[in-house]
Subunit: 297 residues, 4 copies
């Protein structure tokens, strides 16, 4: 079992830390919200006074924070912890942030001889709780080899996307594509329904045909077609529109930096912003179906 | 074995008729291009002098024509053949046409007591030759039940989308979604590559994640990632950009008629038209990847 | 003064007929809504029993109907009036319809030796009442020369766009561009405001710069910037979102027929449909500003 | 007459400096390209050894650089010149950069008691040479009052957009709108031409109607319609596609930072990138017309 430092105990980080504790690891934990620390302590973690204390005498350090600014601040800001970390510690950042931020922090770590991985996750709160997250990892083979048993306590799929920052790039590419699939599926279903088709029949036909995609396979956005998905529960839970917009913003930033054209992803982002403007920010992203359902002919 | 009339012996209809002959059916055939009729005759079909002759004394009549105008003209035009068809004949139109045209012709057939199915196909020339087409069928259960053994000689998947015209609706919904998947996949792959990822690694990650879709599964648009697809053969063959634009046009027509919003499909259509304008009309539709590859930063 | 037959006495046609009466012309009028006929009779028009009676013994015949289907039905349907019209009668259709419908009807008229103009208007109900409409005319020079004095009683600008149907084409091109200008102006204003600018100051800068356009000049969509426009009156009145969507549908139809790419116009149409879905169908089209105003950051 | 320091003597900065010399000002100039300095020296400027020397003993300091990174590096980088500038010097940055960069530099200047304006220009090389640029200025009233006589030597229109950074915001809003107007105008003209209209006639109708905008007024993109514009000269000269893409990138950055939706501007950016991919990066931005002209039906 390993000694692990963990910073960021929110909706995602909390259950991830919990799964590490269940697997028998020793955890030193910190979060700026005391209640989150308390909850983790009750599960067996050792609370410490600040981020800097979490890196003392640990084998692995893991962070799970909301955005680039928090990650940069934690590691390389004026009070950055990289300076405190023993170079033998394996550092894993599970936050979803800009690839450029991930590279910046990884490079700063490398300068101090620290092996660092960017390992953003997909699977949402459900995956974090159930220990079924997918990790998309950027960094060295050696680092990932060392990280695998730890990551396996929190998730079931681990992909190696490439060098430092590659995990972030792969995640935002995937989520940009996901936003396009979902929006495209929603409008295709509605076009069919408007022209007299049964959405379940059409879904099944497209799922088995060249329109087949993850939304039709596992996350149908049309109410009543699939059980156990947000569409069947008034779009509660799941992957929030607000978070999809965050990820699409990261994709757009990356596209701006390389001069890439992303017409479909750009349009999806703009549609999701309009959708959020209608009050759907805290609903699942498959609720984009409502943008098409609510038309008046 | 059945007696079958068949009109339209082009790239698709020719091999379909051929497969019916191989299965032991008797065919009366017609096409306005004599060479196509000759070729079919050599395979055992009986050439007749015109469309009207193909419907005499047959159990089943099949048409495979380029567009709505041809289908309407064949069946209900001034010289329309519906008037010639024995009501006991099962009529199957395999053309991809506007749902409104399909309904119009089906209704005219029904008025004469004729059972008619719209049964557009997917699978392209390869599927037609190999007898592995997918049929997406609109019409009555009874009609489809009767048609199944015949269709099974030409294809391997048969979907029942609903009543008259529903086959056309389902096909254009699927193909609109397909255009969105393909374009979205192409831009996501390029965004990843521009940011340093290996397209094969990124493809594999997204295929197994929430970005998974048919393009990543079976038809990767990025050169060098997948064997045996048009991307590996300079985008030759496959499903032509010109045909995708035709199908997107049918989807847009249907959307206009019902007042549906199809933002992603509309954008895909406009991108495909710009792509055609660059000389890609006769290339496979996965060549949309080139729109993103050829950028200059 | 002329003897004029007039069919279609709604929001637009009613005041147009009224202005013709005020100018001293004799009118025979018909509408399927008796109240509209009564109102016109009170202003001096002669009500007749049906459309066919309006064309008897007149110099000019004018129609103002909602859509292509009504115009085709009036002129060339089973009970079409073309057969009743004296070839010396000048026929002017002021409806906004599909160019293909306008051409079809004009050709049918020409076959009977009748000179027909398509003369769709812009300027809305206000322009109809005030006699300040703009006519965009398709048809022969000779026809337009004869029509000018009549049109001048109802409007102040008369443009000759070309041959039969050209008036319709020019109008839908203009209105498609207008939808793009308005949406683009709304989002540019909001981008500025979100970044700290005063919308009036930004409007004035862009108006005098290369962003200058009719929306900034005469119809600013941002509340509080301009007096006497719908933005200052909760987007009441003006040119309804529903009507803009109708015109964009005609533009999309024309684009489909010629295979044209209209990426900006297509996007504008889809945004307007989503906007209508939010309950703005009966508001002025500059209310698209609300799609951008209501965002939550 | 004033003593002026000037850094950045390229296509824009060179002629701007030249006009200041012609107006009788004394200039100390620097550029990293010696030839550009030489050229300016021949016109009467005093070359100095580096940027830091240009700020010694001057009343006004002006910079004209390609991008945010250069401006930040000049003023606040490790060798930043703000530390060298006498607080009585008026500082004017005429570069087009990110509003966030402009604010950052202005704030750093303010901390040292220096009055700084952001004053990006429009009007291109022609405007720079002819002294007819438009300045869109952010900063204090007092600063702008002092700057006016100097700016008037280089341009003819001066707009005050607001506080620090507002000049940049207003410019990118304007140019984003411009890209939308131009693209929308190009596709509307092509839709008309495809449907049989004369582009000059249609341009004139829309110019006088609600489709009226700067492109139709002064910069018609359709070849042969207007004299003296890039469309009449194979789209040579003018405002390069590469530069429009740069400005659209700044607009997208600003939109990402505030969470704004910019669907039309995003689409225009993506279309311009595809257009650049076809080899049009060094052509005038009205060449987007070619994207629509080159279609094959």
């Amino acid at each position: 079992m390993a000694k692990i430092g963990f910073v960021g105990l929110g909706n995602m980080g909390g259950p991830m830390a919990s799964n590490l504790l269940s697997a028998g690891h020793e955890l030193k934990v910190f979060d700026i919200v005391p209640e989150l620390v308390d909850k983790c302590e009750q599960q067996g973690a050792t609370p410490v006074a600040g981020a800097k204390e979490t890196v003392k005498d640990v084998d692995v350090f893991i962070s799970m924070l909301p955005a680039s600014v928090h990650v940069e601040s934690l590691y390389v800001g004026e009070e950055g912890i990289l300076i405190e970390i023993d170079p033998r510690t394996l550092v894993i950042d599970c936050s979803t942030i800009a690839p450029s931020s991930a590279k910046k922090v990884s490079e700063a770590a490398a300068e101090k001889g620290i092996v660092m991985l960017d390992a953003p996750v997909s699977g949402g709160v459900g995956g974090a709780v159930g220990g079924t997250l997918t990790f998309i990892v950027g960094g060295s083979d050696a680092g990932l080899k060392e990280a695998r048993p730890i990551l396996a306590n929190m998730g079931k799929n681990i992909f190696h996307a490439g060098g430092p920052g590659a995990g972030q790039v792969a995640k935002i590419c995937n989520n940009m594509l996901l936003s396009v699939l979902m929006t495209g599926t929603a409008e295709a279903l509605q076009l069919g329904v408007d022209n007299g088709l049964d959405p379940a029949v059409l879904s099944e036909i497209m799922r088995k045909s060249s329109g087949g995609n993850w939304a039709l396979e596992a996350y149908n956005p049309y109410p009543g077609v699939m059980d156990g998905v947000p569409a069947g529960n008034n779009y509660e839970g799941g992957f929030l529109v607000d978070l999809m917009i965050k990820d699409l913003g990261l994709a757009m930033e990356a596209a701006l930096q390389t001069g890439a054209a992303t017409p479909m992803g750009s349009l999806a982002r703009n549609l999701y912003i309009a959708h959020r403007g209608n009050g759907f920010g805290r609903k699942d992203f498959s609720s984009i179906q409502k943008m098409f359902l609510e038309k008046t002919n």
